[in-house]
């Protein structure tokens, strides 16, 4: 199966100049295959967020290469990274980050609206279908503030799917939810992965949820370590 994203030798350092230079990622090699459902785990401060930002094309690595859907991102400017994000990537944030000024439906349509400047009737129908799929049709025109935490996160999940991404990056998507809602959200992502073949990379602290993923990628001190259960695709500790 083809890789959705390939990272090789990714390093990221902050500071330099007057402030001390701190390297957060020490050469990450990682490939995400089409249709994978992977968990990214690791203690806080291990560089998970930085790695996720780099994979989300929100930050550029200091060195190393990142290929997304066969396209290299080397030397890309902000406009190109924005275009690639909008074309291939979906985001789910920990605090769901729905925009309070817009209805649930408008939030779902936002990725398409933002990229194309306007929404078509087909876009609207797709957004409604997505909301229906997560049982929120009745809430389509409500403000996110009127929804429960679990409902909000479900809206955020289908928003990430709106622009038909190849890879969805989820940053602790259940971190802010009660156990029941967290399990439901996880199950929903799992189901979407199975039915639509969208690749997921989920950062999570919850080992039980991580265990339900096909693959666990573990990051410790800026390096990938072999997970006891899968052991694939991880570089040996330095």
């Amino acid at each position: 199966m083809a890789d959705v994203m390939t990272l090789s030798g990714i390093r990221k350092a902050y500071g330099g100049g007057r402030s001390p230079r701190v390297e957060v990622l020490h050469g990450i090699d990682l490939a995400l295959a089409e249709g994978e459902f992977a968990a990214l785990t690791g203690p806080s401060g291990s560089g998970k967020s930085t790695l996720l930002n780099i994979m989300g094309l929100l930050e550029a690595p200091t060195s190393g290469t990142l290929v997304i859907a066969g396209q290299s991102t080397a030397g890309s400017d902000d406009a190109l990274r924005t275009a690639l994000r909008s074309r291939y990537l979906g985001f789910i944030f920990q605090f769901h980050h729905l925009l309070a000024a817009f209805s649930a439906l408008e939030n779902v349509m936002m990725p398409v609206h933002a990229a194309h400047g306007r929404v078509t009737r087909a876009d609207r129908q797709r957004a409604l279908a997505l909301l229906e799929r997560v049982g929120l049709s009745a809430h389509a025109h409500k403000s996110p503030l009127q929804l429960s935490g679990g409902q909000q996160q479900r809206v955020a999940i289908v928003r990430a799917l709106m622009a038909r991404p190849r890879l969805v990056l989820a940053d602790e998507p259940t971190g802010n939810l009660d156990t029941q809602s967290a399990q439901e959200a996880f199950a929903l992502m799992r189901e979407i992965n199975a039915s639509d073949g969208v690749t997921f990379l989920i950062v999570t602290h919850d080992p039980r949820l991580a265990d339900t993923c096909d693959r666990q990628i573990r990051l410790v001190d800026g390096q990938l370590v072999a997970s006891p259960d899968t052991g694939v695709n991880a570089s040996p500790p330095a």
């Binding site: 924005t82 994000r85 944030f93 990229a115």
Partner: protein, 403 residues
């Protein structure tokens, strides 16, 4: 609706208090600009109107006589050229000159005037007056009299005169009375008063006597000549520019009202300049107000901007969102401001009255004024939003989401 407009409107609606704050600022600014402009325009129009109500836009006069050098040889100067006492100089062949003046584009009407010094006599009392001989029909096309009529009728048949109110009071005259006029030639004739006028200035009311052109020519000894041609032009602000051409076409000297009233023109110009300054500073204050509120709003919306950027919104769209907000605030504020400014202007005309209970002068809030003010507000809004909008567009999405 396009993405940028939707987001701009929603964010404005969401930031209720801030939006109201900037709208209030723009409204007050626009109201001040509208009110001041209307006031000053009205005031200036009124002053010009009052000044020109007894004056022609351009007055054509005979060339002044000058001494000429007797000998003009290299290195020899026989006489210094100096002004000499001007004898009463007249315009001959005036009908053709007046026709030439009328033919100049932009000239609306022309009237012949034969004026000179004289005395008004009644019951042994003599008053020095200015005799002004006119063809009334022509004269009325240059200078309005209907609004100056106190009593009698605007008629000047042979043997009739119209006098100012002060002269009438001093000599105890009223319409229908007889008055003796003495001209420079010493000739005396008796006239019937057909109207008493208020020229708006005490001195004019004391001195001006309007009489038929033929009578004045006889009294003053001009024969068929006149002393001035009065002209009315279509655009009174073009009078000064037209004067040289009129002089060239008629072979006479042309004085525009701007030259005759140089002090007034200077006063009006400095008034316009200070108005412009007030408007500039008000616009600046409004711009700073918009900018500062929007800088804060961009900071508050960092997270939202970050999410939009992460979801694939290009930076230029973020820029546009905030420029649209600035423009919208400017436009909507200018609608409220125009209404408020017009209301104050109308209130002013209702409250500030002259001794006759009439508004001192008309304040006119014209559509053109409102349109230019709105355009200005739009421009100020967009320009003021530029820096905050650039800040928003340059936000690093990672930091924006994290912060």
């Amino acid at each position: 609706m396009p993405f940028e407009w939707t987001v701009a409107l929603r964010l404005l609606r969401e930031g209720r208090f801030q939006t109201l704050l900037i709208l209030g600022g723009v409204t007050i600014g626009v109201a001040v600009v509208v009110y001041i402009t209307a006031l000053v325009n009205g005031l200036q129009a009124n002053i010009i109107d009052k000044t020109l109500s007894t004056q022609a836009h351009v007055v054509l006069k005979p060339q002044e006589d000058e001494n000429r050098r007797l000998v003009q040889a290299p290195g020899v100067v026989m006489a210094e050229v100096e002004k000499r006492t001007q004898r009463e100089n007249t315009i001959d062949n005036w009908q053709s000159r007046m026709a030439a003046a009328r033919a100049v584009p932009g000239v609306r009407s022309a009237a012949a005037m034969a004026s000179g010094p004289g005395f008004a006599e009644k019951g042994g009392v003599r008053k020095s007056v200015a005799l002004m001989g006119v063809e009334l029909a022509d004269y009325l096309k240059v200078v309005r009299l209907d609004d100056k009529l106190l009593s009698g009728r605007l008629r000047l048949p042979s043997g009739a005169v119209m006098v100012g109110s002060e002269l009438a009071r001093e000599l105890g005259l009223s319409v229908g009375d007889r008055l003796r006029l003495v001209g420079a030639t010493g000739r005396t004739e008796s006239y019937l008063i057909s109207a008493v006028l208020d020229f708006g200035l005490k001195d004019l009311n004391r001195r001006w006597v309007l009489l038929p052109l033929r009578s004045a020519q006889t009294l003053l000894g001009y024969q068929l000549d006149i002393t001035e041609i009065y002209l009315q032009v279509n655009d009174l602000f073009q009078a000064e520019r037209m004067a040289p051409l009129l002089a060239a076409r008629t072979g006479l000297m042309a004085d525009s009202w701007q030259v005759t009233n140089a002090q007034l023109v200077t006063a009006l110009r400095s008034q316009s300049a200070s108005t412009l300054m007030i408007k500039t500073f008000v616009s600046l204050a409004v711009a700073l107000g918009i900018a500062s509120v929007m800088v804060v709003s961009v900071v508050q919306k960092r997270r939202e901007i970050g999410i939009l950027r992460a979801m694939g919104t290009p930076a230029r769209r973020i820029l546009r969102i905030f420029l649209i907000q600035g423009g919208l605030v400017g436009l909507v504020g200018s609608v409220f401001g125009s209404a408020l400014g017009s209301a104050i202007a109308i209130l002013f005309t209702r409250l500030v009255l002259d001794d006759r209970g009439q508004p001192m002068f008309p304040i006119s809030v014209t559509p053109a004024l409102l349109a230019t003010t709105s355009l200005l507000a739009l421009l100020v809004g967009v320009l003021a939003a530029l820096v905050p909008a650039l800040n928003a567009a340059r936000l690093d999405p990672v930091e924006a989401i994290r912060g």
